[in-house]
């Protein structure tokens, strides 16, 4: 089973992702970037679902850090956020996110997108 890490400060969304994805993936979730980074450094998951509005270190910054890190830079990242403006979406993709999903989302759509990204990234390796 592929492993997914969720970094989102809203407990409702962490629980939702767990509910939606737990059938097909192993889901671990944390509430802020520092804790997320700790887990990433310990054991690399197969994919990261990353919120943008996080306390202290935001999602954009964390995404940049991941892309700059030798060990983490190949990690597939999907931004999962309430920010729906085109600029935010572009910024996320420019900073290296593989996909951008806006909240609210439909559970099926999220699962499909995760699978797609995993496939794409798997093919490259």
């Amino acid at each position: 089973m592929k492993k997914i890490l969720v970094i989102d400060d809203e407990k409702d969304f962490r629980d939702l992702v767990e509910k939606v994805c737990s059938k097909e993936f192993e889901v671990v979730s944390v509430g802020d970037a520092d804790e997320g980074l700790k887990i990433l450094k310990k054991k690399l998951p197969d994919l990261l679902l990353l919120d943008i509005n996080l306390p202290r270190v935001g999602g954009y910054t964390l995404c940049q850090q991941i892309r700059a890190d030798e060990n983490l830079k190949k990690l597939p990242v999907i931004m999962l956020t309430v920010r729906r403006r085109k600029e935010d979406q572009l910024k996320g993709l420019e900073l290296g996110a593989d996909d951008y999903v806006t909240k609210p989302f439909e559970p099926k759509e999220l699962v499909v997108r995760i699978k797609r990204v995993l496939e794409r990234c798997g093919n490259h390796e």
């Binding site: 939606v20 309430v82 989302f105």
Partner: protein
């Protein structure tokens, strides 16, 4: 009319008036001095002639006096004729040969000035031994005077013209120097007014213009800060509105897709998020009231009664978590001067926070004392600036999870939530506005709020309220 032109005209007028006044006075003084000097010269001439005449009389040397007179005729301007008369009244030396040895001095001509002087035997007195007399042509003297006055006039005119020209040049240069920074200031301030807040007014002169530029820069800086605050606020608000909405919609989507998810737990989540939304909107309205510095209507309020009312609102919640809420307010305490609705809001926000962040079987204590004189207090008194007996200090303490020391200063900022604590708690997520509202209300009431906390042991919020004695 431009400042530069105004200033130039003003300066030129001022210089002109000054130059005119000064040159007129110089001219008048010079004229007077010249005339005095001329009179002095005439007196000197006659006195010197008298001295020579004395010698001539004593030595009986008429020729000496005659030669002296001849020399005077050549050298002294305006000299017409000179006479030396001995004590018997006979002219013994004169430039007018016809009158030599005659006993009678000719009448003074109309256009002459006659100066005469007695010749005495001793120094400055003694017996009169003769008389000297010189006629000067008043026409020649007047001509000489006029010529000289004209020359002086020309000199003064030339000098003042020179001063005036230099003055005009200097004032024009100076006024354009003066208006240059103003022009630059106007240009830069126009840019700032157009919303370009990164512009720095670049006037570094060490005077009022420099000060003004500095003030403009400060203004632009604080505008920029306000602008940032505003856009931060807007983005925070939209995020805080969107998050619960997105949660509600996402959970509805989940339940629509999968009937098994249509359960109590998920409905509670949706309810909590709607509660969070409406709480957030209430808080926003409160914040806006406070930001607009809306002054509330205040009257004497009995603190212990008000606190009892608020505490009763939380009875059910406290019961659920098995929390004890204790109030310790002296009934003798004077009334506070406050708006009772807003005062309630303070207690509601602080007590609901305390309940939220305190684990089961904890304790919440509300305390009020009149003008405490602890160490923190004496410091505070000087801050607030009123006498120690004029306020009441209220404290709301809990035995909750505590606030990290480095966060204590930030908890009153809008949208600030202490990291890592919020998730583990039940119920709707907070808005991050509660404490900023409390702080706003307390400040509007002339008080001050601060907090003290120990991780794992609990937090105490202190605030001050004015008593009616001071308030009314």
């Amino acid at each position: 009319m431009r400042i530069k032109t105004k200033f130039s005209i003003f300066a030129v007028l001022l210089i002109g008036i000054c130059v005119l006044a000064i040159s007129y006075s110089i001219f008048m003084i010079e004229k007077k001095l010249f005339i005095e000097n001329q009179n002095h010269e005439l007196t000197k001439t006659i006195l010197q002639f008298a001295a020579v005449a004395k010698e001539a009389l004593i030595a009986k040397d008429d020729l000496l006096a005659l030669n002296y007179l001849k020399a005077l005729k050549k050298t002294s301007p305006g000299f017409e004729s000179g006479y030396l008369i001995n004590k018997s009244g006979v002219i013994i030396a004169t430039t007018n040969a016809d009158l030599l040895r005659k006993k009678k001095l000719p009448e003074k001509k109309d256009n002459s000035i006659r100066i005469s002087e007695d010749v005495n035997s001793g120094e400055g007195g003694g017996k009169k031994i003769g008389l000297v007399c010189i006629d000067f042509s008043s026409e020649v003297l007047k001509k000489l005077t006029n010529e000289n006055i004209k020359r002086i006039g020309m000199q003064v005119l030339f000098a003042s013209g020179l001063v005036l020209v230099f003055g005009i040049i200097i004032s024009v240069v100076f006024s354009s120097q003066l208006s240059k920074p103003v022009k630059k200031l106007v240009k830069d301030v126009r840019l700032i007014a157009d919303g370009n807040l990164d512009v720095k007014v670049d006037v570094s002169s060490n005077d009022e213009m420099g000060d003004l530029a500095g003030e403009f820069n400060k203004m632009a800086e604080s505008l920029k800060h306000l602008d940032h605050l505003k856009s931060d606020f807007v983005s925070n608000v939209s995020h805080e509105l969107r998050s619960p909405l997105a949660a509600i919609e996402s959970y509805i989507n989940l339940m629509l897709e999968d009937k098994k998810e249509l359960n109590y737990e998920n409905l509670v989540r949706i309810k909590n998020n709607t509660a969070r939304l409406s709480k957030f909107i209430d808080d926003l309205l409160d914040v806006s009231k406070i930001e607009q510095k809306e002054v509330s209507e205040k009257k004497a309020v009995n603190l212990s009664g008000l606190v009892e009312d608020v505490v009763s609102l939380f009875a059910v919640q406290a019961e659920e978590k098995k929390l004890e809420i204790k109030t310790d307010i002296d009934e003798q305490i004077p009334d506070v001067f406050a708006n009772s609705e807003r005062l309630k809001q303070i207690f509601i926000n602080l007590i609901s926070n305390a309940i939220k962040f305190t684990n089961k079987d904890g304790k919440i204590t509300i305390n009020a004392v009149q003008s405490p004189k602890s160490k923190v207090q004496s410091q505070l008194t000087s801050d607030i600036g009123h006498r120690t007996s004029d306020y009441i200090q209220v404290s709301v303490s809990d035995t909750g999870i505590g606030i990290p020391k480095d966060q204590l200063g930030k908890i009153f900022d809008k949208f600030h939530q202490v990291k890592g604590t919020v998730d583990e708690l039940k119920g709707p997520k907070g808005t991050g506005l509660g404490l900023s509202i409390v702080k706003g209300i307390i400040e509007e009431h002339g008080g001050k709020i601060w907090a003290d906390s120990e991780m794992g042991k609990g937090t105490t919020f202190y605030f001050t309220l004015l008593t009616t004695v001071d308030g009314i």
